[in-house]
C-alpha cells in the first residue's frame, strides 16, 4: 500500500514543479521588463471586457498584443467602446514582455485620437 501512495505523491509533486517552472506570467507585472516601452501602430482588434481589456496593434507588419487593465479600470480611465476603432493609429506606453521574441506588452497609457488614457494611472511614466 505504501509504495503506490508514495508514487502518486511524487507524481503530483512533479506536475506542480513542471507547472511552476513553466514560462511567463501574464497576470500582474512579473512577466514584463522594468523599463518603459512604447509601441506605435494601427489597431487591428479591440476587446473591452473581462477578464481584462486588450488591443491588437499592427506595428510595421508585426501584430502585437497590448494588454490593459480589467474592464472596470479601463473604463474608469475613459477608454470605452467607441473611443477607438479598428484602423486607428495608436500609441501604447507600458512594459513589454521580458521574452523579447514575444510580441506582447502591458500598457499603462494609451494614446489614440489625440487623447491620452491612463489605464494604470499609478504606473505612468513621470511627467
Amino acid at each position: 500500500m505504501q509504495s503506490p501512495f508514495n508514487r502518486s505523491v511524487a507524481l503530483a509533486a512533479a506536475v506542480i514543479l513542471a507547472a511552476a517552472t513553466a514560462a511567463y506570467a501574464h497576470h500582474g507585472w512579473s512577466w514584463t521588463q522594468d523599463g518603459f516601452f512604447e509601441l506605435k501602430g494601427r489597431i487591428t482588434a479591440i476587446y473591452i471586457g473581462n477578464p481584462h481589456a486588450t488591443l491588437d496593434v499592427d506595428a510595421e507588419g508585426a501584430v502585437w498584443r497590448v494588454e490593459m487593465a480589467p474592464p472596470s479600470r479601463t473604463i474608469a480611465a475613459g477608454f470605452t467602446e467607441g473611443v477607438a476603432k479598428v484602423g486607428d493609429e495608436v500609441t501604447a506606453i507600458g512594459h513589454r514582455s521580458r521574452d523579447e521574441s514575444e510580441k506582447r506588452m502591458k500598457a499603462v497609457r494609451i494614446i489614440v485620437g489625440g487623447k491620452t488614457y491612463d489605464v494604470y494611472p499609478d504606473r505612468v511614466p513621470p511627467a
Partner: protein, 154 residues
C-alpha cells in the same frame, strides 16, 4: 468552428458577463469554489482507496465523496463554460486551454473505467483500483494547474 465561438461571444448573457464589474468576479469565485470542492473530494476519495484513513468505512466514505465530486464538477462545468464564453475564440486557440480540456477528458475516462469495474456491486480493489486512484489524483491536480496557467500563458 470560428463562427460557432464568435456566436457564443455574441449571446446576450455572454455580452452582459463580458462587461459586468460584478457578475464576472462572482462567476470566477464560484468556479474557484467548485474546483476547491472537487479537488478536496477527489484527493480524500483517492487517498482512501490508496489506503489512507482506514478507520473510516470505505464504501460509505467513497460514495459520499463521489457525490460531492460529481456535484462540484457540475458547478465547475457551468461556471467554467461562462468564463470561457466571454472570449471563446481566444481560449479555444490556446494550447494550455486545450491541454486542460484533454486532461479533463482523460480524468473523466479514468472515472468511467473505475465505475465500469465497480458495476458488479463491488468497488474495484487491489492493484487496478490503486493505479486508477493514483491516476485520478495526478490528472485532476494537473487539470487545476493547467487551468490556473490559462491566465498566465498567452
Amino acid at each position: 468552428m470560428d463562427g460557432f465561438f464568435a456566436g457564443i461571444e455574441q449571446l446576450a448573457l455572454v455580452r452582459g458577463l463580458k462587461a459586468s464589474f460584478v457578475a464576472y468576479p462572482i462567476v470566477n469565485a464560484l468556479h474557484i469554489m467548485s474546483i476547491g470542492a472537487l479537488l478536496t473530494s477527489v484527493w480524500l476519495m483517492d487517498l482512501r482507496i490508496l489506503g489512507a484513513f482506514r478507520s473510516l468505512p470505505q464504501p460509505a466514505f467513497v460514495a459520499l465523496l463521489r457525490r460531492t465530486a460529481l456535484g462540484a464538477f457540475g458547478g465547475a462545468l457551468v461556471t467554467g463554460s461562462l468564463l470561457f464564453s466571454v472570449r471563446a475564440s481566444e481560449y479555444a486557440a490556446m494550447p494550455i486551454f486545450l491541454a486542460k480540456m484533454t486532461l479533463i477528458l482523460l480524468a473523466g475516462a479514468n472515472f468511467l473505467v473505475f465505475m465500469r469495474r465497480a458495476k458488479g456491486g463491488d468497488e474495484p480493489a487491489g492493484g487496478v483500483a490503486i493505479v486508477l486512484a493514483a491516476l485520478s489524483l495526478v490528472l485532476w491536480t494537473s487539470v487545476l494547474f493547467a487551468g490556473r496557467f490559462i491566465g498566465f500563458l498567452g
